[in-house]
C-alpha cells in the first residue's frame, strides 16, 4: 500500500504511476521498510513476491520516471543525485535480508503485473545470483597517493650547464620511477593481504577526481565481497594496512557495507 498522499495543499491531476525496482531478495526476506522513502518521495517501499524471489520496489510517477521524463531528469545532476542516493539507501536497507541482488538505477515497469512477470521469467537466474552473494556484502578499499611524493627535486641551485641540466632531469625521472614503483608494490601488497579475507574481489577504475573532489592519485580502488562472519577480520586487516601505509604517504579509505553491486552479473539474463 503506498504510504503518503498528495503533495501538501496542491491540487493534483491524476498522475499515472509505474513501478521502480531497486533489487531482488529472497521471497521470505524480512525487511524493515516502514518510514523509508522511495526514489519518488510521495511513495514508500514495498516487497513484491514471486515464487522464490521478491523485488523491493516503489511506485513512481511517470511524470518524473516515464521515458520522456527520464531523458530530461537523468541529465539533471541534482535529480540524479537525489535519485541515486535514495536508490542506494533502499538497496543498503535490503542488506537486512540474507542476500541482495542490486538492480541498475531506473529499472522501471509500467505495471505491477509486468514487474512480477519479469521476476517469474528470470527466477532461476535470480536465484543463482542470490546464492552467490548469500550472507555477503561488498566493502570498498581505496588507496590514495600524494603526487608530490613522486616529484623529488634534489637540488635548489640552478644547473651549471646544459649537461648538468640533462643530468638532473635524468635523476628526477629516475627518482620518480622509483617512487611510482614503490607505490605500485605497496598497492600489490595491500591487495594481496586483503584478498584472502574475501570471497571475491574486483579492481575498479579510479574515480573521477573532478566528481569526487579528491586531491591525490587514486592508486587502488578495490571492491571485496566479504562473508558477514569475516567482516571483523577484514576490517582489522584494512586498519593494519592503513597504519603501515600512512608513513609511506599512502592513505587508505574503507566504505561499506554496500550491497554487492560489483559481484552480480551486469549483463542481462538469458530468456
Amino acid at each position: 500500500m503506498p504510504a503518503g498522499g498528495n503533495a501538501a495543499g496542491a491540487e493534483r491531476v491524476n498522475d499515472s504511476l509505474g513501478w521502480y525496482a531497486y533489487c531482488v531478495v529472497p521471497a521470505r526476506a524480512e525487511l524493515t521498510l516502514d518510514g523509508l522513502a522511495g526514489v519518488d518521495p510521495p511513495f514508500g517501499v514495498e516487497v513484491m513476491v514471486s515464487g522464490d524471489v521478491a523485488a523491493v520496489a516503489s511506485q513512481v510517477r511517470l511524470s518524473e520516471f516515464g521515458a520522456d521524463a527520464l531523458k530530461r531528469n537523468l541529465e539533471d545532476r541534482a535529480w540524479l543525485e537525489r535519485t541515486a542516493r535514495a536508490h542506494d539507501a533502499v538497496v543498503t536497507r535490503a542488506l537486512e535480508a540474507e542476500a541482495v541482488v542490486p538492480l541498475r538505477l531506473c529499472t522501471i515497469f509500467s505495471t505491477g503485473e509486468r514487474l512480477l512477470a519479469m521476476l517469474q521469467e528470470h527466477e532461476a537466474s535470480l536465484v543463482g545470483e542470490l546464492r552467490r552473494v548469500w550472507g555477503r556484502a561488498e566493502w570498498a578499499v581505496k588507496i590514495l597517493a600524494d603526487p608530490a611524493s613522486a616529484e623529488v627535486d634534489t637540488r635548489a641551485d640552478l644547473p651549471a650547464s646544459g649537461r648538468d641540466y640533462l643530468a638532473r632531469k635524468r635523476e628526477q625521472r629516475s627518482a620518480r620511477e622509483d617512487a611510482l614503483a614503490q607505490i605500485d608494490a605497496a598497492v600489490g601488497e595491500a591487495h594481496a593481504r586483503l584478498r584472502p579475507h574475501a570471497v571475491a574481489s574486483a579492481l575498479l577504475r579510479a574515480q573521477n577526481a573532478d566528481l569526487s573532489g579528491r586531491r591525490g592519485w587514486m592508486v587502488h580502488n578495490g571492491a571485496y565481497l566479504v562473508d558477514a562472519g569475516r567482516v571483523g577480520d577484514f576490517t582489522a586487516a584494512v586498519g593494519d594496512l592503513a597504519t603501515e601505509l600512512r608513513p609511506r604517504g599512502l592513505q587508505v579509505e574503507l566504505t561499506g557495507p554496500w550491497a554487492p553491486y560489483n559481484f552480480v552479473t551486469t549483463g542481462g539474463f538469458e530468456p
Partner: protein, 71 residues
C-alpha cells in the same frame, strides 16, 4: 583510516537514508554496476543508455585500472 561503515538500521525517520558517502561512490555503483533488467519503461529509452549518462559524468581522467573480476 576513515571508517564509514554504516548499516541500514540507523534511519528510523521517514527521510531518505543519506549515508555520508561521496556521490561518485553511489553513482559508480547505481549507474555503473548492478544487474541490468529492462523494464518496459526503460526499454523505451533505447537512445539513452544509462551507462552513457554515467560516462559523461565519470569520464574525465584516465582510469588507472580497467575493472577486472577475479573469483
Amino acid at each position: 583510516m576513515t571508517d564509514r561503515a554504516v548499516t541500514g538500521h540507523e534511519y528510523p525517520d521517514r527521510l531518505p537514508a543519506q549515508r555520508d558517502v561521496a556521490l561518485v561512490e553511489v553513482l559508480d555503483r547505481a549507474l555503473g554496476a548492478g544487474v541490468v533488467i529492462t523494464g518496459d519503461i526503460t526499454l523505451s529509452l533505447a537512445e539513452i543508455d544509462l551507462v552513457h549518462v554515467s560516462l559523461r559524468l565519470l569520464i574525465g581522467s584516465e582510469p588507472l585500472f580497467i575493472g577486472e573480476q577475479d573469483q
